[in-house]
């Protein structure tokens, strides 16, 4: 354990040190101007560094500023407040989860259709791949506006973007997984006189589980990205994407970084949950680690 953790911690510390140094360097020009205006000359370096780490709208906020902003905007505020990051994170999270659920179901359904029908394999698969060449993330705000004009507002349009992004890894992974049983195993089930349904539930589906979870890890991370970007078009709807947008309009860099950190934390927690579910399912099915 120790020889796994220590290298990671070392690198993290190096990043942190680099970050503080970069904050001094990048915030210095503005701090120089502030000090010149206040007729402060010959500020000692330690004091100058502390000044650059405590600016109101820094070019690069120091890590502790971001952490304290997160603290102020989550724990210190009512959860229903529109300034609460927890409130915005919940909006994004619910769209992510809804879209991820849609996407996984759609992906599995398409994969089942593809492995059971030759024509859908040949006609669908190239277009499923082609569907991902449309940069949906890039047009997500437009799609949300378009769906809003037909009366679909709130969670669903964002979830649709997440779905569009997350079904793809699931289809690709599940097609591979459902086809992973070897001929000898299929032959064995034939000798048992298993019907198609039994072959599916007792062989193909369990065999596809590792592939499903690997795909779901990619899918949930990409769902979150989809939900965040989809929020960029609707400033009144709330969500982490809106915090990014308003932060960028008002030059509130600390707010942007805080939203980014929360999004990163959400992604980490979601991937970890899928990973835990994977361990549990694999353990139940007697998989050897």
């Amino acid at each position: 354990m120790a020889n796994r953790v220590i290298p990671v911690l070392t690198i993290l510390l190096a990043i942190l040190a680099f970050w503080y140094a970069a904050a001094i360097w990048m915030n210095a020009p503005w701090q120089d101007r502030l000090n010149a205006r206040a007729d402060l000359v010959d500020v000692p370096f330690a004091e100058f560094a502390a000044q650059t780490w405590a600016q109101d709208k820094p070019v690069l906020p120091a890590p502790h500023q971001v952490v304290s902003e997160i603290w102020n905007a989550t724990v210190a505020l009512e959860i229903t407040s529109r300034r609460s990051l927890a409130y915005h994170a919940w909006i994004t999270l619910s769209a992510t989860l809804l879209g991820f659920a849609f996407g996984t179901v759609l992906g599995v359904a398409l994969a089942v259709a593809i492995i059971h029908n030759d024509a859908s394999d040949r006609s669908l698969m190239p277009w499923i791949i082609a569907s991902q060449t449309i940069p949906i993330l890039a047009i997500a705000p437009m799609v949300v506006v378009g769906l809003g004009s037909v009366g679909l507002t709130g969670l669903v349009p964002k979830a649709l973007i997440s779905m569009y992004l997350s079904f793809f890894p699931v289809v690709v992974g599940m097609v591979k997984g459902l086809r992973s049983p070897e001929a000898i195993q299929l032959d064995l089930l034939r000798t048992y006189d298993a019907n198609g349904w039994q072959v599916f539930w007792k062989l193909r589906w369990p065999a596809a589980m590792p592939f499903l979870f690997a795909s779901m890890k990619v899918g949930i991370a990409i769902s979150l990205i989809g939900a965040v970007v989809a929020e960029l078009s609707n400033a009144s709807g709330g969500g982490l994407g809106v915090r990014l947008l308003t932060g960028s309009y008002n030059g509130q860099t600390v707010q942007i970084w805080a939203a980014l950190f929360i999004a990163a934390g959400l992604a980490a927690v979601l991937v970890a949950i899928v990973g835990a579910a994977e361990k549990w399912v694999n353990g139940r099915m007697g998989a050897r680690a």
Partner: protein, 370 residues
């Protein structure tokens, strides 16, 4: 079954197709001859019911599908919704298309038709069928163009605005995506090679790199716009940040791909570290590096377009998309999307082609399909 040599599903599709054609024929009786080609299609489609008695060649189904689509497109009214019996034509030609594709793939599987060429026909038919259905539904049901313009309008707009689209393409793809992609990938490669020598650094970088690859890095776009200004530099910076981590993680994994026995061989040749790297481990990492290059090719375009939502000069694909939505010029937006899709696919395709040339030794390439 013997009589028609069709599976249950094909039989159901055939019944649906001919039935819809027959219904269309009945409903079009009140004004016969107003659209002669469509009437011909209905009649022939209904006549295809004779497959109950004797089998019909699969190419006849294909011809019917084509006839139905062409007749329907020609008969579409310029304004207003289309007559109700046209919908039967849509259902019938869709069913004929499906039936044709089913029988074609069955024939390929049975070995009656060659795989090459005909295998390509099926996805093309599916795509064209989607386009025809899109065109017929948007124009036939009088969908407001603001919501979803028909493909023909998008095509017309594409032709009319090529210089704007080209300027946007240059701004976004040539100026932002390509430099960012090159810098990000090269930096990832360089850092991976640098940490490769030290197991300690490798153990530290890998989990962090994996973690960073899963994060919504695209969110740094507003920060980059603040740091590097509105022009292409900020977009290229976003692309660098997005492409760096997948490249780093894949290269580090790939550099471990060479087996111990191959490394031992290099050792017996008294090869130094640099020679082992250049002659064995970097080539062995090729499939991993190209995997990252392919992932990054799609990420890069998305990153550049999204970054343009946060501030841009008055040119660029992301700018055109966001202002197009505001001005309700949705057909221009779709033309821009088409450009992005084609550019993204071509980018990916070029990388895949280079991969086939460079990693020709890898089983996945030698197997025939990449």
């Amino acid at each position: 079954m013997n009589r028609t040599s069709l599976t249950t599903m094909q039989f159901a599709l055939a019944l649906l197709a001919s039935g819809a054609a027959a219904l269309g024929l009945v409903f079009s009786l009140p004004d016969p001859g107003s659209v002669p080609l469509l009437t011909v299609f209905f009649a022939l489609g209904a006549a295809a019911m004779v497959r109950l008695i004797r089998p019909i060649n699969l190419w006849f189904d294909g011809a019917l599908m084509l006839l139905g689509a062409v007749a329907l497109l020609l008969a579409l009214p310029q304004t207003g919704a289309m007559p109700a019996h046209f919908w039967w034509a849509l259902v019938a030609s869709w069913a004929f298309a499906w039936l044709f594709v089913e029988r074609l793939s069955a024939a390929i599987r049975a070995g009656h038709l060659p795989e090459t060429g005909t295998g390509l026909v099926i996805p093309v038919i599916f795509g064209l069928a989607l386009l025809v259905a899109w065109e017929v539904i948007t124009r036939g049901a009088n969908v407001p163009p603001v919501l979803l313009p028909p493909p023909s309008a998008i095509g017309a707009r594409f032709m009319a605005e090529t210089n704007i689209l080209w300027a946007d393409f240059v701004q976004t793809f040539i100026k932002s995506v390509l430099p960012g992609y090159a810098i990000g990938c090269l930096a990832g490669l360089a850092v991976a090679i640098a940490v490769d020598r030290s197991p300690f650094l490798k153990a530290g970088v890998m989990p962090i790199g994996n973690f960073m690859s899963a994060l919504p890095i695209i969110g740094i776009a507003p920060i980059m716009v603040m740091w590097f200004g509105f022009d292409w530099q900020s977009k290229a910076a976003v692309v660098v940040a997005m492409t760096f981590f997948p490249m780093l993680v894949n290269t580090v994994a790939g550099l471990n791909a060479a087996s111990a026995i191959e490394r031992d061989l290099m050792h017996t040749y008294a090869a130094n570290n640099w020679q082992t790297l250049m002659k064995l481990r970097l080539p062995a990492a090729g499939p991993f590096i190209f995997n990252a290059l392919k992932i990054n090719s799609t990420l890069a375009l998305i990153g550049a377009i999204v970054a343009e939502f946060f501030g841009t000069p008055i040119v660029g694909m992301g700018f055109r998309i966001s202002t197009g939505v505001g001005r309700l010029a949705i057909d221009l937006v779709w033309a821009e999307i088409a450009v992005a899709a084609v550019a993204g696919s071509a980018f990916y395709g070029v990388i895949a082609l280079i991969e086939r040339g460079v990693t020709f030794w890898h089983p996945s390439v030698r197997g025939g399909r990449a």
